[in-house]
């Protein structure tokens, strides 16, 4: 994170001092030319827009991490709408866009809004959701009144106050960048210094209070930083959508990692990516509002994480489920083979496909497919019409059968379930019982040899012997 900030600082330091031309002054209609101009960062205005997007992304991403893990998403939404009257009052200060006046006004309004939410929920019967929605819309209405009043003034329409609603990264100036840089440095510094405290407060408030942390002050400090980052993001994203920049990149990061520090770093990176992509497309497409473009960028990142995340992603989970289903299917085939062998008391090698198909009540083609699958995983070998266990296949088959029968016995003996009701449950559990649980079950059942249906339960010795024997007696 600090590396990103440092790099940003370096390339912005080079840009500072140059007189800014607005991106909107530039009117080239050539797409590729525009793209090249954005990517080369030759224009100071482009540099300000990109730099602003980067700083916004870092700030919102890092603080958004706390918003998401603390379930404060709707508070962030309220905060972002509540800053509007403050923005308008900041404009009124001297009827122009003075970054510091806007910053102070917006922060004050945002904090007033969030404290009003707290005051309403504490002093009345109204619930938090009502208080949040009420403050959000009322403050926004007040801001809308003030903004339309400003636009009525002779200088009002040129002041650019409307750019604070849906964002326009091209309107970012050197002064804005200075302020954004200062706020980003403050946010990163404070989060770094109080990382451990914030971590504890976010995940275990009770423990934090018990260990004497100033929970109330940490919460207030976090809210203040949140207000700061919303306010510096206003210029780029706009008051209406800035909450999305707090929520979406951090939620995407939350899908990818369990560690808070990685989550914060990833969220910052996603925020930067969304911001820069938004600024880029806004530059290409004749100054479309940047806010919606950045939000769509962030949502794309979220969709990517949602689909492709290695652990929580939809595709990964689908793959794992498929994998598990395939393993269960293979183990069921092994079990069927074992049962066929058992029925003829392990005389002879190999099981014919017709026998397997008959036991499983399937077609020969299905049995063939199952046999091929076993062969691919090294659990069996196939010759024409016959299936032979490999040593590992035979061992696994005996284990599954043992798991099944042990569990049936356990349920009938210890849980007093009728013997004809235990099969379904054992069908599921046989695939997931681990060695240690099996040992424990065997011990509790006194190393019983017969299951409730009177069939033999393979013991450890049986399993090892069978693996070894069939290895020696394997055909070819």
């Amino acid at each position: 994170m600090t590396k990103i900030a440092a790099i940003t600082f370096l390339f912005l330091a080079g840009a500072a001092g140059l007189h800014a031309a607005r991106v909107s002054d530039v009117s080239s209609t050539d797409w590729t030319g525009q793209a090249a101009r954005f990517l080369s960062l030759r224009d100071p205005a482009v540099r300000y827009a990109a730099g602003g997007a980067v700083l916004m992304g870092v700030c919102c991403g890092v603080l958004g991490g706390f918003v998401v893990v603390r379930k404060m998403a709707l508070m962030g939404d309220t905060l972002s709408h509540a800053v509007l009257p403050g923005v308008a009052l900041g404009f009124l200060w001297n009827l122009s866009k003075d970054p510091v006046a806007v910053f102070i006004g917006a922060t004050a309004a945002g904090l007033l809004g969030t404290s009003l939410v707290r005051a309403i929920t504490h002093t009345t019967r109204l619930k938090e959701d009502a208080a949040l929605g009420l403050v959000l819309a009322s403050f926004f209405a007040l801001g809308a009144c003030l903004v339309t009043m400003i636009q009525r003034l002779p200088t009002g329409n040129k002041s650019g106050v409307d750019k604070f609603l849906f964002g326009q990264a091209a309107a970012i100036t050197a002064g804005d960048i200075g302020l954004m840089l200062a706020v980003t440095a403050l946010v990163l510094g404070l989060v770094f210094l109080f990382y451990k405290e914030l971590l504890v407060v976010s995940f275990d408030g009770g423990f934090a209070r018990a260990s004497g942390l100033p929970v109330v002050w940490l919460d207030r400090g976090l809210m203040l930083l949140l207000a700061f980052s919303v306010v510096i993001a206003l210029q780029a994203v706009g008051a209406v959508l800035v909450s999305a920049m707090l929520i979406t990149p951090a939620a995407a990061a939350y899908l990818l990692t369990d560690r808070l520090h990685r989550l914060l770093a990833l969220a910052a990176a996603f925020g930067v990516a969304a911001g820069v992509v938004g600024a880029f497309f806004s530059f290409l497409g004749h100054n479309l509002p940047t806010g919606p473009l950045m939000v769509i960028g962030a949502s794309t990142v979220f969709t990517g994480a949602f689909l492709l995340g290695p652990r929580h992603g939809v595709i990964a989970r689908w793959w794992r489920r498929r994998d598990r289903a395939a393993r269960t299917r293979r183990e069921n085939t092994l079990k069927s083979l074992y049962r066929v062998c058992e029925e003829r008391e392990f005389a002879g090698e190999g099981v014919s496909l017709t026998e397997l198909a008959r036991l499983r009540r399937e077609t020969i083609e299905d049995a063939q497919r199952l046999g091929d699958e076993l062969a691919r995983h090294g659990l069996a070998t196939r010759t024409d019409g016959m299936i032979y266990f490999t040593p590992s296949g035979r061992q696994r088959a005996a284990e599954i059968v043992r798991n099944h029968r042990l569990w049936e016995l356990y349920l009938t003996n210890s849980a007093n379930i009728a013997a004809d009701h235990v099969h379904e449950d054992a069908e599921k559990i046989e695939h997931v019982l681990g060695e240690e649980v099996v040992r424990e079950l065997e011990r509790r059942l006194n190393y019983a040899e017969r299951d409730p249906h009177g069939r033999h339960i393979p013991s450890v010795a049986d399993i090892h012997r069978s693996a070894g024997l069939s290895g020696e007696a394997r055909p070819r």
Partner: protein, 320 residues
């Protein structure tokens, strides 16, 4: 600064809207009242069920549906507009459910992601197709209640009735009021005690989806007048204000309608005086009424609380 706050001219601000300019402002006040009243009645149930922010989610997410319906049908007819909004609303609900159930992202963040994405798409479409869509950013944000009287009047059997959107909103209000009366008991019971409701043969899921359907009809009809964000205030403020003053649901309903009327009238005068957009002014007036109720409420008002706390010491603690 003297330009910013215009001088208070009694005749211009208070008298003219009700006399010489009544043809213009009469429809605006009526529209403001109808929106506030219909939203207020639905909002009362949202408040009871702690679903206040569903209004937020629905109002934001219908925007892309409205814009796409405009683009496809080239008209602002009620049918396509409503279908588009409904489709977008359903899509938003599905996305929220999908994110919330399939990942470990919590519901609040899922709501935030879904409606901000859909809203962003809607805003972008309005910005790209400004010339073809009869919606602009101003309308989305502040509503265009001032344009209501300029609409071509609807005629029925030779009589000139009034602007179509006002009539539509009036119909929606009457429909909502009728539903609230007919299903009074079912709504009441299912809001407070789902178990009891089920034992009385009321299916809570049906009630929930019915409420959501009515909510989206109200939000879509109010969209042009008050936009996507102010409608949240219209939903929550009436009920929140009156529930500070009384606990009985019929009185809360009546109070919500009164609140809608008062904030429409006061907001009109405020907006005319300050020469600002009228829909936000009505919400500001409504918020002012809420603040008043919060201060003077007989049971949990700030004055009462302050008085109770005034005799310092242990007595104050035991009084709470």
């Amino acid at each position: 600064m003297e330009n910013f706050i215009p001088p208070f001219d009694f005749h211009r601000v208070i008298v003219a809207p009700w006399t010489t300019d009544f043809a213009l402002f009469g429809w605006i006040v009526l529209m403001g009242f109808l929106v506030g009243a219909a939203c207020g009645l639905v909002g009362n149930y949202l408040l009871l069920r702690r679903l206040a922010l569903m209004g937020d989610a629905v109002s934001h997410s219908v925007l892309p549906g409205l814009v796409i319906a405009f683009l496809l049908s080239h008209s602002r007819g009620t049918g396509p507009m409503f279908l588009g909004a409904l489709a977008a609303g359903v899509l938003a609900t599905l996305i929220i459910e999908f994110i919330h159930t399939r990942t470990r992202v919590k519901q609040d963040a899922a709501i935030g992601i879904a409606f901000s994405t859909l809203f962003a798409i809607g805003v972008l479409l309005t910005a790209i197709y400004t010339s073809q869509v009869d919606l602009d950013a101003e309308c989305v944000l502040y509503g265009e209640i001032s344009f209501v009287p300029l609409e071509p009047a609807a005629r029925f059997a030779g009589f000139t009735l009034g602007p179509a959107s006002v009539l539509r909103m009036g119909g929606v209000f009457l429909g909502v009021a009728l539903l609230a009366v007919v299903f009074y008991k079912e709504l009441l019971v299912s809001a407070f005690d789902a178990g009891l409701a089920r034992s009385m043969g009321v299916n809570p899921a049906v009630m929930h989806f019915g409420l959501m359907a009515v909510l989206s009809i109200v939000v879509v009809s109010a969209f042009e007048a008050v936009g996507a964000i102010l409608v949240i205030a219209m939903l929550i403020l009436p009920g929140a204000t009156t529930s500070l003053l009384t606990k009985r649901l019929p009185l809360i309903h009546a109070g919500a309608i009164l609140h809608a009327a008062l904030s429409a009238v006061l907001g009109l005068h405020l907006g005319i005086w300050l020469e600002c957009s009228l829909a936000p002014a009505m919400v500001v007036a409504g918020a002012g009424l809420f603040t008043l109720a919060w201060i003077v409420s007989p049971e949990e008002g700030l004055i009462v609380r302050w008085r109770r706390r005034a005799p310092a010491g242990p007595a104050a603690l035991s009084a709470r």
